[in-house]
Amino acid sequence: MIEVDLSKQFSSARHEPPSASRQSPLRGVDAKFSSAARVLVLFGRSGSGKSTVVNMIAGLAAPERGRVVIDGEVLFDSERHVNVPIERRGVGYVFQEGLLFPHLSVRQNLLFGAARRGTNGALNKGVPFDQVVSLLGIEALLERSAPTLSGGEKQRVAIGRALLSRPRLLLMDEPLAALDTGRRSEILRLIERVRDECNVRIVYVSHSIGEVSRLADDVVLMNEGAVIACGGTEEIFNRTDLRPYTGRFEGGALIEAHAVRHDARYFLTTFAFDGGELIAPGIETPIGARVRIRIRARDVTLATIRPQGMSVRNVIEGRVAGIEDRGGAIVEIRVRLGVSGSEPSGRELLSRISRQALDEMQLEAGQLVFVLIKAIAFDKRSMGFTT
């Protein structure tokens, strides 16, 4: 359990360093949330104060007022004048830039935090050195010197180094931001494995919907230094009132599903969720495994009659639940899935269509529609295992 209630004002002279230059500098951060999730993601635009919050949890930045409690142990409390020093907080940190020690070898970097003594509070039992090394695939790098590594390799070592210091909480501040696309998905997969195999809680800072939908159990939504909402990932990303913060331009819905059968001949897998079934490439997904699938609004087509003779594999019935028209060429339709269409708990999907299509089809709330989604609209990047 992690409980955070912090506020910090920035004087005009030194505002938050990572804020984007075109935005007005942040005047302060005021964050209150608590979560027992395995992976908690702080999500928001750059400059919304996410990094400041994790820095305050780690003790690298000093809040003016507030409390930080992890598993019942108070790390910071302004009223009771508690401020545990950074090195005794038992909090690991993976920075954006890796920040390996350039004068040390990879092995020495990995072992730097291993000497950490279990001072106050329980440290994590820890993962053995060899297991961390093989999990991260860095066996061949051990004797190299840190500056000779590539960006992706550096980040692997940085994750290993943090893990081997046996933290009870692992903070990750946009660990993929400095990497190219190929390396990103590679490191993201590793982070998923760390989450599943290393029994360490993670607080992850991100402004990428892809990362959030793959990793997050809980989400803290931040904007301009304030917490807009905190809760389960599906709940947050499917709440329409939060759409301005969860990404108007990458609109979509998150669906939790599990693999029910494979079609080995076509390399397709059927996923079931409350509201229907989806066919998508996912042959490597074990049967029964739970996945979170992100369906982008622009990949969803609507029809008023059941179409035939077409390439689209997924046709799901639903009813129009709402039409969001902000003017312009594009409108967004919320569709509640389910055969009866009136189930109150039914899943909602978003579809982005042209206003012309809306007028021609004469869509209105409550109307029966067929939702069409190409099987190949999802790839590995939009699916995350949640076990």
Partner: protein, 234 residues
């Protein structure tokens, strides 16, 4: 080639210079750390005081030392009574004078190299469980080491050439406080010293060049490894 007397002078100069940097290096490192990593009211004044020996006439420094560290001086008398340490007209005084005069050079080089160590690397060390002390000795100091070494070397070279403060503070006593520059000065006062002057001048040039070459070598090596390290520490 060199007379015994001249060899003694050179040995004394090296001893004084070595003692001066050994004495001042830890203090200079502490001052450099304070200047590089902290901010407090009065920091500008502190900075100015540290740099004072660079701009004051050396004779003035020598006189201050005489007043403070001489036999009757406040600190000098106390040191003599309690520890039996005496600076007045002794080679230790020459070392003290050289240390004070070389101090700003040393602090400057150390400060620059400490400032070049990214504070975020120190953060990383702290989050890995390292105390401030361990962070300094395991991360900051090794990364700043080339600059620290250059600072020590520069101050060493400066000590070999120290004249004004030394002669004012501890006078010019052959075998005790007469270092290379003082010996050369004495020789210029005598009519038959030309050959000896030339020899001692040559030794001065060689020693100074060696110190400069050493610091340049350290700098180059550091730059070469910094090129590789650049990406990771940005």
């Amino acid at each position: 080639m060199l007379s015994n007397e001249e060899i003694e002078i050179i040995a004394l100069s090296l001893k004084v210079a070595l003692a001066s940097v050994v004495l001042s290096a830890p203090i200079a490192l502490a001052c450099a750390l304070v200047l590089a990593r902290t901010s407090f009211p009065g920091k500008t004044l502190f900075d100015a005081v540290v740099h004072l020996p660079l701009v004051l006439p050396p004779v003035v420094i020598g006189y201050f030392l005489l007043v403070v560290f001489g036999k009757q001086g406040a600190v000098g008398a106390w040191l003599h009574d309690w520890f039996g340490v005496s600076f007045a007209f002794r080679w230790t005084g020459a070392a003290l004078a050289a240390a004070v005069m070389g101090f700003p050079l040393m602090v400057r080089a150390m400060r620059l190299s400490l400032e070049a160590v990214p504070p975020k690397l120190e953060w990383a060390a702290r989050t890995l469980g390292a105390s401030r002390m361990r962070t300094f000795f395991a991360v900051t100091l090794p990364l700043a080491l080339p600059g620290v070494a250059v600072g020590v070397l520069l101050a060493f070279a400066r000590s070999l050439g120290e004249f004004g403060a030394t002669i004012t503070f501890v006078s010019n006593i052959p075998g005790e406080t007469q270092t290379l520059p003082l010996a050369i000065y004495s020789l210029t006062q005598s009519p038959s010293g030309d050959a000896a002057i030339l020899r001692l001048c040559a030794v001065s040039v060689v020693l100074s060049l060696a110190a400069l070459a050493g610091s340049e070598w350290i700098n180059r090596r550091a730059r070469r490894s910094a090129l590789g390290a650049d990406e990771g520490t940005r």
